[in-house]
């Protein structure tokens, strides 16, 4: 896979009833294409009005995955680059359960739910599923379990590889993990109380758990890195981390991460971590 530019479609969904009709999709696809992008990113959702976010609704609206690709092609879009999915978001099609990646008892349901998406992505020729690592810190409270999260992400990575899809782990500014300096930024954030940030486990311990887990298994696909641009080594892995630049935190700071370098030998890369 060569690097390319894609545009996320989620900005067009501004209210529950917006961006549902196919003519609205068409206008967005053409806009993306006219702006010079040749691929789009989908985002998972629930319900009949999330017709680009649920595999069964996408097929119902476009006839099939191939029908959707045809429509994209007619609008000047060559590919679906990726799909973002939050396993902790309840979906009517999955019984509206509140699942947690930190809770091992939920892992089976998470993997079953992922399978629905992976099948679609395989049909679409999409090579990447972007998975939100955990629910927000505020919802988790003290329930964050880095090892459990790492475990389910590893299993997701393996399952994805069976479909020719790679998992990119998405960490956002509400995630329970934070670097030690996080409280500085969090103190001014209305959505993440400083106490939560201070007490939250750190991303480094999480990475360690993931590496530890992967090294304890014989599964060759597992491994972690923080990377926006896959290197030749990271490209081989089924799981990598995508770290999102925060839009709601007051500050960010550039860090040089050594994640993944010890066990995987991946080249350290610069990234930008939110302060909370």
């Amino acid at each position: 896979m060569t690097a390319g530019w894609s545009y996320a479609l989620n900005q067009w969904r501004q209210s529950p009833t917006s961006f549902v009709r196919l003519e609205e999709h068409e206008r967005a696809f053409k806009t993306v294409s006219a702006a010079g992008f040749r691929a789009v990113e989908l985002w998972a959702g629930t319900g009949r009005w999330s017709n680009l976010g649920r595999p069964e609704h996408l097929r119902l609206n476009y006839g099939s995955a191939a029908g959707f690709l045809d429509r994209l092609a007619e609008c000047g879009i060559d590919a679906v680059s990726s799909l973002t999915w939050d396993p902790s978001a309840p979906a009517a099609e999955e019984g509206f359960e509140l699942r947690s990646t930190s809770r091992p008892a939920d892992h089976g349901a998470i993997l079953r739910a992922a399978e629905t998406y992976l099948e679609l992505l395989s049909e679409l020729g999409c090579e990447r599923i972007v998975v939100r690592a955990t629910e927000p810190a505020g919802r988790l409270g003290s329930g964050f379990d880095a090892a459990a999260v790492a475990s389910v992400l590893d299993r997701l990575g393996a399952a994805a590889q069976d479909h020719g899809v790679r998992v990119a782990v998405d960490i956002d500014c509400l995630s329970p993990s934070a670097r030690p300096t996080a409280s500085r930024g969090c103190s001014s954030s209305p959505t993440a109380p400083s106490s939560t940030c201070r007490s939250a486990p750190r991303i480094s311990s999480w990475r360690a758990s993931t590496r530890s887990r992967s090294s304890a298994t014989t599964r060759p696909a597992s491994g972690t890195s923080i990377s926006r641009t896959p290197t030749s080594r990271t490209r081989k892995r089924a799981t990598c981390f995508r770290v999102r630049k925060s839009t709601s935190c007051r500050g960010t700071r550039a860090v040089r991460s050594n994640a993944g370098s010890s066990s995987s030998g991946a080249t350290p890369v610069s990234s930008t971590l939110p302060l909370c």
Binding site: Q14, S15, T17, R21, G47, R48, N51, A92, E93, G95
Partner: protein, 316 residues
């Protein structure tokens, strides 16, 4: 007599720095929303069951949100709406194997509003038509079984169940409605009259109210400009937003081309002795450049300046 019990169904999109969003976007926008409803003198507030955790998150609890409503002149939360538009393995009222799960959902809803001013729990009794087809007497009777159970559960908690039928649902004709009500307990399963939905389905809401007055729990006052005479109701993927040729089904009261005779309905309501909430609903008012704030204001204008005088024709 001026009708005092006007409530507002919690559809609203407001303009925020991040584009059009629901007012629960944050407390500031919720406050602006409630002030506008208060300026129009609505005194009831109906919302969705899925919005309860949102408001609880915003204010700390459902009770705390209700106190905010009361600070704005509302009686409190007055109704909660729940729906399963698509059939899933977890929720399909015409399939008995899903009933336990649905009943459990309403246990949670009832618990969430315990101690509040909520009077009605309003439901879409069925999934979308094309997920139920073929609609038979049996599917309707199985559906009736479910809502008898839910109605009994809610009654034990002091709540009334109102069944709100969609033009695209699997109970939509007069005959289907009659069969459903025949197989439900009138003390447990109420009728909730959405004036636009029935009109689109080709059923006169006024006639329905006359027929089911004794079990009527409330109304959604909204208008439409179209009758579904091209089987949009059974056309996948979705009749409400995706119908060919009809980008917008629902309108506020008082627009040119509106098909619902609201003055006649108002007279009938007054004559009947009905004393529940009359709810203004603006479902998807933003379609085609519409605006929830403006639609709500002109609808309330219609209530105060047209329906108020229509009362004079009432027999009582």
């Amino acid at each position: 007599m001026t009708w005092k019990r006007w409530s507002y169904m919690d559809h609203w999109i407001t303009r925020t720095p991040q584009g059009p969003r629901q007012p629960s976007f944050n407390r500031k926008h919720t406050e602006r929303y409630l002030r506008q409803l208060e300026a129009l003198e609505f005194t009831g507030f109906d919302t969705f069951s899925f919005a309860l955790p949102v408001y609880a998150g915003l204010y700390g609890s459902v009770g705390a949100f209700e106190r905010v409503l009361q600070d704005h002149g509302f009686a409190g939360l007055t109704g909660v709406f729940s729906a399963y538009p698509y059939a899933t393995d977890f929720a399909a009222p015409h399939r008995r194997e899903t009933h336990d799960r649905i009943v459990a959902d309403f246990e949670r809803t009832a618990a969430a509003v315990e101690g509040s001013a909520v009077e009605n729990v309003i439901v879409m009794p069925t999934n979308t038509y094309f997920h139920v087809e073929p609609v038979t007497d049996e599917t309707i009777k199985v559906t009736a079984e479910l809502w008898n159970r839910v109605g009994a559960l809610l009654a034990q908690r002091g709540l009334a169940l109102g069944c709100h039928f969609e033009f695209w649902g699997a109970i939509r004709t007069e005959e289907e409605l009659a069969l459903f009500f025949e197989h439900t307990d009138p003390d447990l399963v109420g009728f909730f009259c959405d004036t636009a939905q029935h009109t689109i389905a080709g059923v006169d809401p006024l006639a329905l109210f006359r027929r089911y007055r004794e079990r009527c729990r409330g109304f959604h006052f909204k208008d439409t400009h179209n009758v579904d005479d091209f089987e949009a109701y059974r056309t996948p993927p979705d009749a409400e937003l995706m119908a060919t040729g009809v980008p917008r089904w629902f309108y506020e009261m008082g627009t040119p081309g509106g098909l619902v005779d609201f003055p006649a309905l108002m007279r009938e309501i007054l004559d009947s002795g009905f004393d529940g909430w009359l709810t203004v609903e603006h479902d998807k008012a933003d379609l085609g450049g519409g605006d929830f704030a403006e639609s709500t204001a002109v609808a309330k204008w219609y209530i105060d300046n047209v329906l108020a005088s229509a009362r004079a024709g009432a027999a009582r």
